[in-house]
Symmetry: D2
Subunit: 368 residues, 4 copies
């Protein structure tokens, strides 16, 4: 295998297991001269940290990041940036039991099938803690995007059956409620729904939406490295993701062409605009300058304390109740993971786009 | 840009424009010793050929493939396989008009933004004809999968609002009706719906479903090269795709954990099985041996003859009716493209999986 | 295997066998807007064409190139450029004999070991004709470099024991004598030496030197994608290459630091210069703006008509005299291959370099 | 930039600067089930550690490695292996002076040209300490090769003008003298030569030779990923390398074909053999099963205390004597770096080779 690296130009390699000594990431291809400090990273990491609200796992980690290389006198040097987060409160004893059987909905069985055995402590590499590296790298990508005027807004669109009402959309609410829902009323109902799940030892999925504004047109490479294709890969690389759509998504499949096409018009300043944005900001796999809009569907947390049938490694059928510290929903904590992966994808394609026109290359290298 | 290559171990590079001299593909990494002839490829290409039914473009191309390298005495040699399909009936005159303006829903605008100009003849590189190379390569991947006991079944799940009824599912129907729908009754209604779209100069989208049986467990690399992630990228690299889901997909986001988890059981022969398959055959990004199931949402063909507002390259607002030879729906022709991209993705990950266990490597290289 | 692709940003994929239907290359990542026609490519291909002088194989091919995609109205479009050269005078009958045994110095044995069998016609994929694709791609890279003020001069430095005298160096001679030697007197002696080799049914090796002027400083990526490292790979990917050195090369290993270091000085115009260039224009793997200088050692053509001992596929010891159309020396024809691979390497790294500084990226994407 | 990753299947990503907090490497693609502990790595690292003899820098670091992930219960898990070595004795004060000017023969100038500024402490990323990550990864690759019966022997072939005499070759001497020379007499003379260099404040280069025995035939991918090409890149990615040759190398360019070709013969056990090994174990870029033999030329350490002319960042000509802790020769310490890079290259190609034959793939995946 060789699947721990993402990106071609702005490239990250993550490492670490849930209950190992530490987790981390190496970011290669970050341009020199970007102001960067640990606090920039920590802000992002804090958004995915457990123990933030009563629907997330009570495991409390500081998840304090340390930058080990690639930054000198407050600025990136162009060399690889290694970042590390130490694991502090591993209670592996909680997990020794699960070494013997396959938890439904988890990667226990498939890791064993692939590798012959597995690091069973807390899910090992397949744990949600693996995303620490992505989020740390995503914080850097987000700083780069910000410098170029591109901003990402990511939030919970639905929890189980409770969806936000776009009429009530209030972006300030994203930071107001622990579910990151931009609709206070829906957040209230979602909270009740989760309470109910928790009571019965059950869990819930949900949908995350991301909107990128200030998009630069022309980003994405035909044919296989379309912005849409790379985003899709980025999102499906996140553990519990089972669906993804851009713009109108599945609804577009039911529409007619006349309903789905976005007509162009001229703005007063002479620039091109689109009357609608069913396409979610991507045409032919390339950004069109309008807002990038996509949704990511997350499955319910597989760890539930309700009894489930399963089998042991040594071929016995048993009934289990998964113990340990588990979120009844991972959607709110995955919001920053989605945003990070989007930032990484866009940054990578922004860099690859720089060599796509001869006139721009000549201008870039012109000796004054 | 550098986006015309897909795959790491089994790798294809496509080239060609809708109205250039030819289109083609180079497949690198095909193992030596696979029996292969042009007819193997042609069977796949014929499934995407236009002019097969009255809902597809009346442009008639033979799309006859020629193998130029990599095959010797009826078998692949391990060297790159170059395949070419000549363009025969280009009527570029049809397209000179569209050079001046941006067709809504097409890549005209984004290509211009990216490259400064575009090969406007028939959409150039962003045309659906680009998929010829993928399908030719997919035919080879499918032969490899077949030798390993993996088979793909791909079909139209819905056209616009008309969806197949899983109660009526009849796989033999896939080859019986021109819409590749495994439900004769739904196919009839879809046909009427398309007739209606066509009459009003409109178009329709739809959803394609693919099921892979005989899956080998352990395929897919954590973390970023998950089977699910690579499939998602593969599908979103297809022109008109706007959504993708695996197993229960978006429905999983509304379910509770107890409903979505697939419980394991022991078969009579002692092998592991799952009581359900909400996961669509993938756990933790790795195949679990059960059927791989996914769906791909395709938007309506953007070329419609209804009047649409748009702008010209030289900044004038106009109203257009797109002429030319267009399908009112591309879903049926995209079925084989989806199947090809799935076959390519699985084959690539089957190869990368071979070096994932030390015992298997030692056995592989053991000197007898 | 998956080794037919070179480059990360400016990427070529070659295909084809010596005696197949055709050979070719797909260039992906060529920027849009470069003026390009078949004649640009043909000029390069003619430099490697056989039958140009009496030391090269009498096989006469026109090696006429055809551009199949990626160029529109005389300019590159940013889409993959597919180029093809048809094989015309294959006389495979010449080669059927060699199917049964392993020619010393050739890849016959290793291909059989790797793939189980081989396309034995004219060496198949391991033939020098494989370089056609590289040279066609190199012609494009050279045009890009030229637009940026970088020029490559490549020539034969030695044939067997006959080396040019740097005191007599006359670049105009490169195009004057069929051996591409910039020293008329040495060329004369080399010619006699080759005549002698030919008479006895033997062959000769030689050394090729390349100098790039107008180099832009800062090209090459630490650590593994150093300009020197990528050049080394590029050169050793050419069939008969057995050695490579940059600047003083092996001689530097015998020098002391005070002799080998190049001291910096200030030019009259205030720019930095080096008093010497023992480093051959590369410091720490990155171009320093002075001339890039390197040498490539080529082994003698393995096909000789002198008797040699070898073995057959079915395990018999035999004595052979290799028949067919062979050069007593391939060095002169390899000159343009070396230049092409150098141009490809430099271009690729020029593109990757564009995203290495935040200030340059911000300037590039600044909205005016 | 994105040059800190090497390999496609067995992949390492190094990070860290000479005087940062730490240096390290992430190894991705290591198969599961390889027994591995920190001591396995430490043995390799100790071979490159400074302060081992009086010709190496007196800077004393323990260079103790810590494995942070990818190993569970004494075996690799198939997940990325993160290894870290903390920097302990950084005396950055030594280096503040060099921030202002460009040391001849160093990467100071080129890093500034590329990135606009540099981490000047001890050479930053361009320091020889960067190789710690390679050697740690190389230790793992070597364990894999050993399990497959492949062993590497690497030694100093020459120091300045003092070369070993192949008649006196004594492999046991490699570990006996601090210069790693397999010829006690030559080692003695080299030692005197270095003493002389040291006295005058000068430095020396040298040549390293590596021999791999037990090679498996068929390793290396035509065309661009030849074993020779990837080895060349690997070697030239090492800081001070200026030349590389395989088998007879440059001498082959002076030989005739009849002298350079290796004739095949049949061993008594019926296996194929070569009467000679001028090719150094590679034919057509693919291993032929005989010993792999290559040489790497290293330039003299650029840091010398003799006065040298150079320029400051703010455009003044000055004369400098480079202070700090420097080796008069880095060749002996580079021996293990060369061996590590060779092990990494061979391992990577061994893995890519596994999917090159259809019969082997079918056997691999056959369901019993």
């Amino acid at each position: 295998m060789s699947g721990s690296t993402f990106g071609k130009h702005f490239q990250l390699t993550t490492w670490g297991e849930s209950h190992g000594k530490a987790l981390g990431v190496v970011v290669d291809g970050c341009p020199a001269g970007l102001p960067l400090c640990e606090q920039d990273i920590q802000i992002f990491l804090n958004r995915r940290r457990p123990g933030q609200n009563r629907f997330s796992t009570p495991r409390r980690e500081n998840d304090a990041v340390e930058i080990l290389s690639g930054v000198f006198e407050g600025k990136t040097t162009g060399c690889p940036i290694s970042m590390i987060v130490k694991n502090e409160t591993q209670r592996s004893a909680d997990y020794t039991e699960i070494a013997s059987y396959y938890r439904p909905g988890h990667a226990d069985y498939t890791f064993d099938q692939k590798y012959g055995f597995r690091d069973y402590r807390g899910g090992g590499r397949s744990s949600g803690r693996e995303t620490i590296g992505r989020v740390a790298a995503g914080a850097i990508a987000s700083k780069i995007l910000e410098a170029l005027g591109i901003r990402l807004m990511t939030y919970t669109r639905s929890i189980g059956p409770v969806e936000i009402d776009m009429q009530n959309f209030d972006s300030s609410q994203i930071w107001e409620n622990p579910l990151y829902m931009p609709d206070a009323e829906a957040a209230g109902r979602a909270s009740e729904y989760l309470e109910d799940c928790k009571k019965e030892g059950n869990s819930s999925g949900g949908v995350i939406e991301c909107v990128a504004t200030g998009m630069i047109p022309g980003i994405g490479e035909p044919v296989f490295d379309k912005l849409s294709a790379n985003l899709a890969k980025a999102m499906f690389s996140i553990g519990a993701v089972k669906s993804f759509e851009i713009g109108d998504g599945f609804a577009a499949s039911m529409a007619r062409g006349s309903e789905n096409n976005d007509c162009f018009f001229l703005s007063e300043d002479g620039s091109f605009g689109k009357l609608t944005n069913h396409a979610g900001g991507i045409l032919g796999g390339i950004s069109d300058g309008s807002d990038l809009v996509f949704r990511v569907g997350v499955k319910p947390t597989p760890s539930i304390s309700l009894p489930q049938k399963t089998v042991t490694r040594d071929h016995k059928e048993i009934e289990v109740r998964v113990k340990g510290r588990h979120d009844p929903v991972i959607v709110p904590r995955a919001v920053v993971v989605v945003e990070s992966m989007a930032a990484l994808t866009i940054t990578d394609l922004l860099f690859s786009n720089m060599a796509c026109r001869m006139d721009a290359i000549e201008k870039f290298y012109k000796k004054d």
